[in-house]
């Protein structure tokens, strides 16, 4: 047996007809809803992306600040050591 089943039907078209399923307004409404959802999702993704970039920027700026501060402390430390030996 295959993975399908072949059935024979007497009528050429469905018994109750396809007319009751024909509704372009419903299709249009669904499309508008989908587009709205897509737009919201896009705005949310942009927002998330901007937030992520901002966080990264803040982290980098803080790291840079710390890096700038570090040499000062080392130099001050070395001057302290120097002054200690001088004594």
């Amino acid at each position: 047996m295959g993975r399908h089943e072949i059935r024979m039907r007497r009528q050429r078209t469905p018994a109750r007809g396809s007319e009751r399923y024909r509704n372009y307004n419903a299709v249009l409404k669904q499309h508008e809803q989908d587009m709205r959802l897509k737009k919201i999702l896009r705005v949310f993704t942009y927002f998330l992306l901007i937030a992520l970039i901002t966080i990264l920027l803040v982290i980098v700026m803080r790291w840079e600040k710390r890096q700038q501060a570090k040499p000062k402390t080392t130099s001050s430390l070395s001057s302290k050591v120097e002054s200690f030996y001088r004594k």
């Binding site: 295959g2 072949i6 009528q11 050429r12 469905p14 109750r16 399923y21 299709v27 249009l28």
Partner: protein
Amino acid sequence: MTDEEIRTEQEIIERAKKDPQAFGEIYERYFDRIFNFLYRQTDDEAVAGDLCSQTFVNALNHLNRYEFRGFPFSAWLYKIAGNEVNKFYRKNKGKKVFSIEEVKVRELMEQANDDWDEEMVNRVITYMNELPTEMVQVLELRFFEDKDFKEIAFILDITESGAKMRTYRALDRLRQQFNLRVKYDG
């Protein structure tokens, strides 16, 4: 479909890309064909109705991505409809159904063999039940939807030679087992 008809259809689609209301004309033109295609593959009116709506919604949602490749727009709709059917069977884990019209089967049998009878029809159906689903899909599009191999290849996402090969193999066995004169190219 003539070149003029295809050109007019393209104009409607270009209009529909800016104004979805214009797509209504395409919907009215192809609704019955897509519905019947889906009904043939589900044997359930309500399911076919739902999948048909979803097919047109998807087509409308992705209309901007549509590019003319020398086929009528219906080929793209059939492709979307086929994907919807596959999605439906994957979700429901059921056996794929092909509900074919008795009248059409008789028509095809009359063309293929002068001495056909009910028993032969039943044997052909049993034979088709044993064929791989991909082969039945090609046969359905070729003989029930009257599509050419180029269009079948586009709809099923296979090569044209692949579509021809599947049809040829299925028909070759039909010819040998049932002495049918089914033409390879329809």
